[in-house]
Each structure stands twice: as structure tokens, then as C-alpha cells.
Amino acid sequence: MSELKLMKGNEALAEAAIRAGVDGYFGYPITPQTEIIEYLMAERPELRTGMVVLQAESEIAAINMVYGAASTGKKAMTSSSSPGISLKLEGISYLAGAELPAVIVNVVRGGPGLGTIQPSQADYFQSVKGGGHGDYKLYVLAPASVQEMADFVEDAFDIAFKYRAPVLILSDGLIGQMMEKVVLKPQKPRWTNEELIEKSGDWAVTGKKGRERNIITSLDLQSEKMEARVRRLMKKYEQMEKEDLRFEKINCDDAEYLIVAYGSSARISQKAVELGRAKGIKVGLLRPITLFPYPKKALFELADQVKGILSVELNAGQMVEDVRLSVEFKVPVEHFGRTGGIIHTPEEILEALEQKIIKNGSIRHHKTRESSIL
């Protein structure tokens, strides 16, 4: 039976992990995501489902425990916040290289360095442009509500196992710390050993028992084989773009101006859209739900309809590059965002739209770019 609760984003994600039948969580505390491991420890999921919850000695240990657990075909996950995710990147690259399913959660705080514990979206580049070394991508889900913090856990594991690839849930301090209503799905049983062998026996290390051995590695010293592996990865990413792209359009049908925002910024921007519409400004919102794959085509098409686009992010300008690439310079694209842990208000976003986009509406984009360089 599903249940309605008032929960923090972090708690909802933790409870959803137990209910999704996750086999193991390995983590290390860091603000603003410590409620995830706190909740899991307090809930004693080892008694509910047999799920293992372990506080590792470091972030690096935690991601390598995920690497080990994922090698056996089990559902394994970890969570951290920005500086901790930087530590995990080597392991994430290995997971991608070894083609292992796993879920990583980043409840982003401000950076660089230790930065601030307040909300931020400054890990966009790190999340969608690699982060770790080598030719790999992560499937990136960006929840914008407590409900999505819960729902995306199961979605992330579905994708991770569909592609045998690591999936990132990219949240932030605002979505992690806020409380909202959440409907929790009923408990799913963890896979039995038989189910696991049926699903993943052809690649996972499940105990050899009369078949050829399965080897988990990201190393291939034979160049042709390594290139074939990279090609295989690229094929997966192409398929993700075709089959598993997710985005949401709000008030876009008659929009003359467009805001693009994900996660917490999308929520705040939605209020800016309401305020703008109340003033008679026809503004819409495109919310990418997956940051890779990115809704390039939807943006390219909207660029024929709108006069200008504002990319709203809690950072100094990262996703704006993907918006510009997607619209191929058909319309002016500008960035607005606060940093350092300051959260932009709906009023500030609307003002930025009016100043940076509407006021400059008649100026061609290349001109604006030139003048900003001068």
C-alpha cells in the first residue's frame, strides 16, 4: 500500500531506497545530505529487507564498496555532497568503464573547495561533462521535489540495469532539506539469488558454477578491444538519448520568452513564470528532468518560437553553454544565477529576464556577444 508522509527530500530518498529493494548503501556523512545515512541507520533496513547500510571510513572507500557490490549484480548505491563527490569520481569512472549498474546521489552544496553548506547547482559540468577521466557519461536525473527524490531512486536503478551503467541523481541542498508531501510506493522485495542470476548472470560475478568466468574490469591493454569498449559505451549513450530523455514544458505553448532551469531553480523559476504572466509577459519554462540526455531538440524547436532564453542556475553559468549549443545561436541566450549559497528569488529571476532578455530583445545575438566582449 502506498503511504502519504511529510518528509525531507533526503529522508524520502532514503526510505524510497529501502522500498525499492536496494541491496546495499555505502556512504560517508557530509552536509547537506547527512539525513540520508542518518535515516537509513535509524530505520534498521537490515531488519526490514536485509539491506546493508554501512558508513565507510571515507568517500573513496564508499564508492569502491559500491564498485564491489555492483560487480555481483546487486543494487548498490552511495550518496554525498559536492566535495565528497569529487573524491568519488575515480570510482565513478571505473564503474562506467567496467559497465556496472549503480546509483550515486549528489546533494549539491556551493563550491569550489569546501565552499559552503548552502544549496548550489555548481556541479553541473562535473555531472554531465564527465567529471572523472575518460570517455564516459552518466545518466543524470535532476529531481525538483521531495516526491521526485523518492521516485527517482527506482527510476535510476531501472536505467542503471537497463544499460549496465552508473546513474547520478543530482539534487541540491534545497530539495534535500525541504519537506513536502510524498507518496511512498509499497515495499518491493530484494532480488533473490536466483532472480539476480537470471537477470545479471551473464556478466556479474555470482559464483562460477559450471559456466565461463565473468571478469569485471575497466582495463583493456589491447587497443582494439579498448576501442570496442568505448564504442559500446557511446552506443549506450546514443540509446539513452533516443529512449530515456525526460523533460517538462510549463506554459510553453504561447511563450514569447523562455526560462530553462532544472531542480530547485526550476521550482523557483516556475514562480517567476507565474509573476511574469501576472504582469502580461508571455514566459514559459522548460525543465530538463534528465541533464544527460539533454532536451536539445525541444530547445532547438522552441528557439523558433521564442525571442530569447534565460538559463537560470544556482551557479556562475554552466548549463547555459548547453542551451546555446542546443539552439545553435538562433536566439539570444543569457545566464542568471546566484552563487555562494545564496538562493535567487522569483522576483530576481523575473527582473533578470526583463533586463537581460526582454530589454535586449531587438538586438541580434552575435551583437550582444561582441558588445559583452568589448
Binding site: 559552503t116 525541504m178 519537506m179 521550482r267 549559497g341
Partner: protein
């Protein structure tokens, strides 16, 4: 109906839990709710605030600059949030420890002696419920029966024997909130 509230004061005054009880009460009457706390350096430095939204519709931004109601429980929060109230909105404050009283004339300002009343009642922990009662008198956004249901949900079961005391405190607050500078006749006894 949408009601946007900011509650701000010292850590330990029960600011966050008051917001949580309000949010739970909203759920009990089928409203959409959001509860966004300050969890950062402010909290560690002694002040705490929470933005609560109750609405019949899907809530867009959980983080706001301008609100319908500000409940202000210390001077630092008065300095920061007096400006946040919408014209025509409501500001409720406990005058205890306030040196610079609110000066705006385009909003409705109420006082409630929460600190004094809670010590008179002999339990400082019910301070936030007195304030909540005062707020609900001015803005009856949730019914008392739903607040009681909300209390049951947000307080762990072993403390459910304290619910009557909390209800008493809410009633005390309802009976003791007084207009300070009120613009229109929204406050009727």
C-alpha cells in the same frame, strides 16, 4: 487559497517544529504544503527560520522573498524580515527582547506576549504553540481539529500525553494576540 509564511527567531524557540506542525495540519486538510528551513550558517549562529506554504494548488517555489505572513520572534529576524511582508499582509511578533518595533504602515501588525505567557504557564517549551495559536486567530488557515491531528503526526507517540497541554497553549495564544498597528478590519473578536 495560498498562504505563504515565514517564521523566524532564535534556535530553540521551536521555530522549525512550529512550521512542521503547521505543515502537517495543512496535510490533514488535504492542502499542498512545503517547509523550507534555514540549515546553514545562520542556524549555527543562533537564528533559525523556516518558510511554510499551504496551498490548494501545486506549490511552485518553496523559497520566497515576499510572504503573506511573517512571524518574528527576535530582533535580528525583525531587521531581516519586516520588509518581506506583502502590502496588506500580516506581521506577528513577540515584543519580548524587541528594541526596534516594526514601523510599516501598509501591513497589519499584531503582538503576542509568547515568552511571558509561556513562563506564566510554567512551561517554556510551549512558547511556539502559543505563537501558533495567535497566528491561527488572525489567519484561520487550518482548523484546530486538523492542528491536533497534525500534532499527533509530528510528535512521537510517547509524548502524545502532552497534546492537551499544547492545545491549551494554542487556545492561550488565540485569546491573547492583540493588534499593534492594524490597517483594515481583518481582526474580529
Amino acid at each position: 487559497m495560498t498562504e505563504e509564511i515565514i517564521i523566524a527567531g532564535f534556535g530553540g524557540q521551536g521555530v522549525l517544529s512550529m512550521g512542521k506542525i503547521l505543515a502537517y495540519s495543512g496535510i490533514m486538510q488535504n492542502q499542498e504544503v512545503s517547509w523550507m528551513p534555514s540549515y546553514g550558517p545562520e542556524m549555527r549562529g543562533g537564528t533559525a527560520n523556516v518558510t511554510v506554504i499551504l496551498s490548494d494548488e501545486r506549490i511552485s517555489s518553496p523559497y520566497l522573498k515576499i510572504v503573506d505572513t511573517a512571524i518574528i520572534l527576535n530582533q535580528q529576524s525583525m531587521d531581516k524580515f519586516e520588509e518581506s511582508v506583502k502590502p496588506g499582509g500580516v506581521l506577528i511578533y513577540d515584543p519580548n527582547g524587541i528594541t526596534t518595533h516594526p514601523t510599516r504602515t501598509d501591513i497589519n501588525i499584531f503582538q503576542i506576549e509568547g515568552t511571558k505567557l509561556s513562563s506564566e504557564m510554567g512551561n517554556k517549551k510551549i512558547f511556539n504553540m502559543i505563537i501558533l495559536g495567535g497566528y491561527l486567530k488572525v489567519k484561520p488557515v487550518v482548523k484546530l481539529e486538523n492542528v491536533i491531528e497534525g500534532l499527533k503526526k509530528s510528535i512521537s507517540e510517547r509524548y502524545h500525553n502532552l497534546i492537551p497541554l499544547n492545545v491549551e497553549a494554542i487556545t492561550m495564544g488565540m485569546n491573547n494576540i492583540v493588534p499593534y498597528k492594524v490597517q483594515e478590519a481583518i481582526f474580529q473578536n
